[in-house]
Amino acid sequence: MTVIDAQGLVKRYRTGGQTLYALAGIDFALEAGEFVSIMGPSGSGKTTLLNILGLLDTPTEGTVLLEGQDVTGLGDSKRTALRKRTIGFVFQHFYLLPTLTAVENVEVPLLLDSDPQVKKRARTLLERLGLGERLDHKPDELSGGQKQRVAIARSLINSPKVVLADEPTGNLDSETGRQILDEFRRIADEDDVAIVAVTHDDLVNEYVDRTVHLVDGTIGRERKNGG
């Protein structure tokens, strides 16, 4: 089942009379349970694509279908509500709230809903990611890998259809990076969640189903992995 189907994405910026193309016509589809990496040099439009897929940004041209629904022209508040329901985010710098414990950080996306089930689910997620002993630790008491696990658990708290990761291994050593990528692989396989990871890290490609290379806002060669 296709979770995200983006057609003819163009993102233009106008700066000082010049028009810059961050994306210059990109088609991108994502199946449930698929783990895809997006690679490319700086300025190739990776992050812009990720932002558009994650409904953080809107394309200048083209359409984005999320579970078959056209979400291209939606306003901020509708996009925000959709993000909350169907999308999870993992960031390079983890971006955990330093004042909240691991469990509370996982709860954050649904914290304002006052749903008593959320805490239980947050604990379960952290236990699944091997952090059962660190539930009530603050981020500054956790290692980089542990922080990223908390961030992954946070991205899963809303049972998303898609998890979007921006350089998820960028701040981790390769050993920890492998553990994190194992988690992503497992989540894609077991939970049928589609995962898109923007990365510079070749290590990621050992774990993904396919890799999309972006060059100057267009899709270059695409490589399918056997795995």
């Binding site: 953080l56 508040s77 509500a81 909350k84 509370e104 954050v108 914290l111 809903d113």
Partner: protein, 377 residues
């Protein structure tokens, strides 16, 4: 557990503890503002209260005296009859004659002093020593005169060369009353040769009645020309109370400047905090927080700052109020009177309101940042 019911409060509270010193200083401003408003307000109330206490029950008194500007030098018997007619049946009307006489006490040199001639002083005064009524001869002296010259009932003073026996020393009167006898020497009106009166006191049972009588007297006696003045202490008291109200308002206004400063410091703290937490707020927006959710969390922080400062301010103000009332009114417990509650409550409300208003701009700024921009940094 509060976090369960009020999740925004949980995040807000944790955020404030992140920069404890800064939060503390920001709410210290609110504390000072609240204390300033509340204690200046309570100071005004205490001042007014102690003034009213000193003033005593003078609102029901009138004094009628001739208008020398119109060449009316005295009130005639007819005027007095008119005054009696205008006054209510239960009122006390005391016409008074005065003249200046050399008076000497205990064989000292004589000094000129105004001597009051009152027909029936028992209607106006009580005796502290001796007896006021019946009053056919001799003299009554006020407490200050008696104290200054060591006079008691039976002492002799000399008025215009004639020896007179003191019959009574009078109780102290209300400080602002025109009938106050403390500094007076009173003799029977019959000892005066002049027929006219220099003033007349009217004492009614209530202030309202006094006011009506005053208007009646003015209507009857000032028909063609302004023959008499009627002084109403009641309206004087009203005027003074209005003045106190104005003073109180001005004091509170000055105090609110400190709250304004506190508001600016909260604005500053919150702005710094939104800049520092730009990415965090971006993440919140990314994971599905609506603009109004971010607004809620940020405003909750400002509100908490205001509440903390406000509560500390109220506690300190009550302490200050106890001290103020102890020294100004002589009764520390007088702090628990309604007008004080009003000032303390208003100060608290203003404190919290100031924080919320100061939090509005930073909160709005944080909420309206595009998550894409916030996360890029």
């Amino acid at each position: 557990m509060a976090g369960r019911f009020f999740p925004a409060a949980l995040m807000a509270r944790r955020n404030l503890t992140r920069t404890k010193m800064r939060s503390l200083l920001a709410s210290l401003g609110i504390v000072i503002g609240v204390v300033a408003i509340a204690s200046l307000g309570m100071f005004g109330v205490a001042l007014q209260y102690s003034f009213t206490q000193n003033l005593g029950n003078v609102g029901n008194q009138l004094t009628v005296y001739p208008n020398s500007g119109e060449n009316v030098t005295e009130l005639t018997e007819r005027d007095i009859r008119t005054i009696r007619r205008e006054a209510s049946p239960t009122a006390t009307v005391s016409p008074v004659k005065t003249r200046a006489e050399p008076v000497s006490y205990n064989r000292e040199d004589a000094v000129r002093k105004t001597i009051y001639g009152i027909e029936n002083p028992g209607e106006l005064y009580e005796a502290k020593e001796g007896r006021v009524s019946p009053f056919r001869s001799g003299a009554l002296v006020g407490s200050s005169v008696a104290e200054a010259h060591d006079l008691h009932p039976g002492s002799q003073i000399t008025i215009n060369g004639t020896s007179v026996r003191i019959r009574a020393v009078l109780e102290e009167g209300d400080a602002f009353s025109s009938t106050n006898p403390d500094n007076r020497v009173i003799v029977p009106a019959t000892s005066f040769s002049q027929s006219g009166y220099s003033e007349a006191y009217v004492i009614e049972s209530t202030g309202t009645q006094a006011n009506e009588t005053a208007m009646g007297i003015r209507d009857s006696l000032n028909d063609r020309e302004q023959r008499v003045f009627v002084r109403e202490l009641g309206s004087l008291v009203d005027t003074i109370e209005e003045q106190f109200q104005i003073i109180n308002t001005v004091l509170a206004g000055i105090a609110s400047i400190s709250l304004l400063v506190a508001g600016i410091s909260i604005l500053n703290v919150m702005l710094m905090s939104t800049v520092e937490r730009r990415e965090e707020i971006g993440v919140l927006r990314a994971v599905g927080y609506q603009k109004r959710d971010v607004l809620k969390v940020m405003l909750m922080e400002a509100t908490l700052l205001g509440f903390l400062g406000g509560i500390a301010g109220v506690i300190l103000s009550l302490g200050a109020g106890l001290a103020i009332n102890h020294y100004a009114v002589g009764d520390a417990m007088a702090v628990f009177r309604l007008p004080n509650a009003w000032y303390v409550g208003a100060a608290f409300a203003f404190g919290v309101l100031t924080s919320i208003v100061s939090g509005l701009y930073p909160a709005w700024k944080a909420a309206s940042e595009e998550p894409v921009d916030a996360l890029r940094g």
